[in-house]
Symmetry: C2
Subunit: 236 residues, 2 copies
């Protein structure tokens, strides 16, 4: 699965959040392309052909940006206006994006809890990202639930470690939303990691841990099946 991350951030070079996400996206993950519009097109002149080629090669497209006036910074909108031509995009005109996925990674300077009815921001992220959801709908793309980075600068090291895994899951896991999909992806990543360990003892320890996780999953599935059978009255 190939992922294209389209980033808009007018102050990308000073953003520790984006630097963190870039390390997460490009270290140990294959098939992830990091594409910052501000570095590529500081003059707002988008190369439409190049951008459309990149989109055609991706299975998952991520728009990643800090929330600027309750939407993306202007350059991503310029990119949409220029690149997403009608023939290229509209599903009912055989647009080429149909079946791909669209995700939103939005970083917040104000706490997420304020984005609610009655809160200081007044509207939810789900409400504010509807224009992007509408693009996905028109293109026949699957819209992924927006991934929110809630005030990165206030995060503890533990929260950042969790963010790293969750973010990698969001951009790289073929089934990022289901619990089983998240588990399978995690196991696969651990197996990849085990293969790269040279010390025999350490590798064996990690492999045993992975086996244990998988055994737990099997047991969980078995217990779920038994509960279903009991519910159906089929308990003999």
């Amino acid at each position: 699965m190939k992922t294209l991350i389209v980033i808009a951030h007018p102050e990308i070079k000073d953003s520790s959040t984006q630097a963190f996400l870039k390390r997460a996206a490009t270290r140990n993950l294959s098939n992830v392309k990091w594409h910052c519009l501000d570095l590529e097109y500081p003059d707002f002149q988008i190369d439409v052909d190049t951008e459309q080629r990149e989109l055609m090669q991706a299975d998952r497209i991520i728009f990643q940006f800090p929330l600027y006036w309750y939407s993306s910074p202007a350059l991503l909108k310029k990119w949409e206006d220029d690149v997403l031509t009608r023939n290229f995009t509209y599903q009912d005109q055989d647009g080429v994006l149909a079946g791909k996925q669209l995700g939103i990674v939005v970083t917040l300077g104000t706490a997420l809890k304020n984005y609610t009815a009655g809160g200081s921001e007044g509207f939810t992220i789900s409400e504010l990202t509807k224009p992007f959801q509408a693009v996905a709908k028109q293109a026949g793309m699957e819209f992924l639930p927006p991934f929110v980075v809630d005030q990165f600068s206030y995060m503890t090291p533990e929260q950042k470690a969790r963010l790293l895994t969750d973010y990698q899951n969001y951009i790289n896991n073929p089934h990022p939303l289901s619990f089983d999909g998240q588990q399978a992806w995690l196991v696969q990543r651990l197996r990849d990691k085990a293969q790269r360990i040279e010390d025999d003892q350490q590798r064996t320890l990690l492999e045993l841990t992975i086996d244990q996780i998988e055994n737990n999953q099997t047991e969980l599935s078995s217990l779920k099946d038994q509960i279903e059978m009991i519910k159906r009255g089929d308990n003999g």
Copy 2:
């Protein structure tokens, strides 16, 4: 009351809709400023000081644009990102926009009836304009219900005449939403017109018509009062 209309339309020179609205906004209406960003800033380099000065002088600010990917064209977003600095805008930082009004005039190429749950566009104009509503909220501005121009090119002459009056009401009437406010504004505009008629007979005819409208309004008010009294059981 001063109104500033901030227009974003990448093909403004070819737009018959915008030409129509411009005639409506600038003919016979005083205190309306027509301000097209595409003509002013084709290179996306916004003059922030000038724009902030214009905003400070306006009582009602209108964002006017064709819907591009379920939002404004990119240049208006650039304008927001550049001009609406935090100190200038946030009500809780003594921003200067508090108490002003923000209106949205959006022109549609696809029929308005498709902007609904289950429709081909999937989302309502109220949903898609929430990011603008959130700006108004943060700035302490009154957000006016969006004014939608529904497929201008398919309108009959009668529909266009109606659009002209409704649009002028939206941009120029101090109380554009209430029925009484609309009537009072219409009568005032007719009186202004009567004063400019040189032919005595024609002017008298129009003045008599205006008197008739006002008499009707008085009678309507009186009937409403009677109904209220009857409802209260106070019918003696």
